[in-house]
Point group: C2
Amino acid sequence: MKLYGYFRSSTSYRVRIALNLKGLPYEQVPVHLVKDGGQHLTEAYRAINPAAAVPSLVLADGTVLTQSLAICDYLDDVCPQPPLLPSDPLGRARVRAFAQGIACDIHPVDNLRVLKYLGGPLGHDEETRTIWYRHWVTEGFRALEAMVAGNPSTGRYVHGDVPTLADVCLVPQMYNARRFNVDLTPYPTLCRLDQAARAIPAFAAAAPEQQPDAA
Amino acid sequence: MKLYGYFRSSTSYRVRIALNLKGLPYEQVPVHLVKDGGQHLTEAYRAINPAAAVPSLVLADGTVLTQSLAICDYLDDVCPQPPLLPSDPLGRARVRAFAQGIACDIHPVDNLRVLKYLGGPLGHDEETRTIWYRHWVTEGFRALEAMVAGNPSTGRYVHGDVPTLADVCLVPQMYNARRFNVDLTPYPTLCRLDQAARAIPAFAAAAPEQQPDAA
């Protein structure tokens, strides 16, 4: 398998963690989101992924999979061990809701393309863009902290003592928040869970600074 | 089950369609997103859903489920017929990627809370907000049209001849785009698929104008 991604992209980071957790080997093809005006915007890359987004996972037969959460679900379908989701429907719903609290509520609004639109067509300076970034992370983290703090389903990781799709989404979003110097002290449970997950080798090996295209 | 939602919210609309497809009865509790400064922002509603977002599905035992796609997956887990996803992993990945092309790439950036932030703290007028809205729909629809047009897996609906989670997400997003007068002529396949799905009684009964809280 070939993973088209970018070391600092949190959606690429999710898929790297999932592949590592499953123990699946993959070749990385770096797509630099800034260099050359954004390598993801080229015709060559759009031919692979018409959404011009990373990551894309290309299977051995050439089939292209897109959307990080859809890719994680696919990996769970074809390689069920270790599972990324609990086996009970309510547990699965809790893990998915947590993951989507990041993948739908935080990340898309703070994505590079949105920050670029704020800076370009709307003419906002870096300070305004940083306030924007922190606003949506703060809104999202407040809700996620409320979901996990004191909840009996929360364990060493977001759901019990085995890492799930929730941790796969949490760690990259926390990395991203630290890059933008978001104050994380109001989210002690998220901080604890993030730290626990990052200590797992599959997560550690997926960290941006460990990737071949890291600056 | 009780569904806290808003007639015009496209995420509530998705869950209504899924519940209708499954033939599951539910009571609607309207949460008006504009009246009273936004009923979803009250402490009473935050006690149900700390993300202060609709929809929330409250089960018979009081368990609260949040995030529309996580709710759809839960419904598929506990009530597998008719399925919202194909049975093969690649088909599932295609349907999920299409659904997330809406749920992650379009909807969150064009959500009411984002438009409110553009108008409030950033002081942009309605015209700028409309251009913003159309920009992200257009970017997203271009990618989705490329996914389905001429693809042998596309049938009467997004994936084959049975409605799936992809159609559950498409129809509300198309409704939303029409509200903002987005030119849909560049997306003939999306238009055809939307029209076919809307003709299904489960979709028709979920339409915003059919809801008890419709203006």
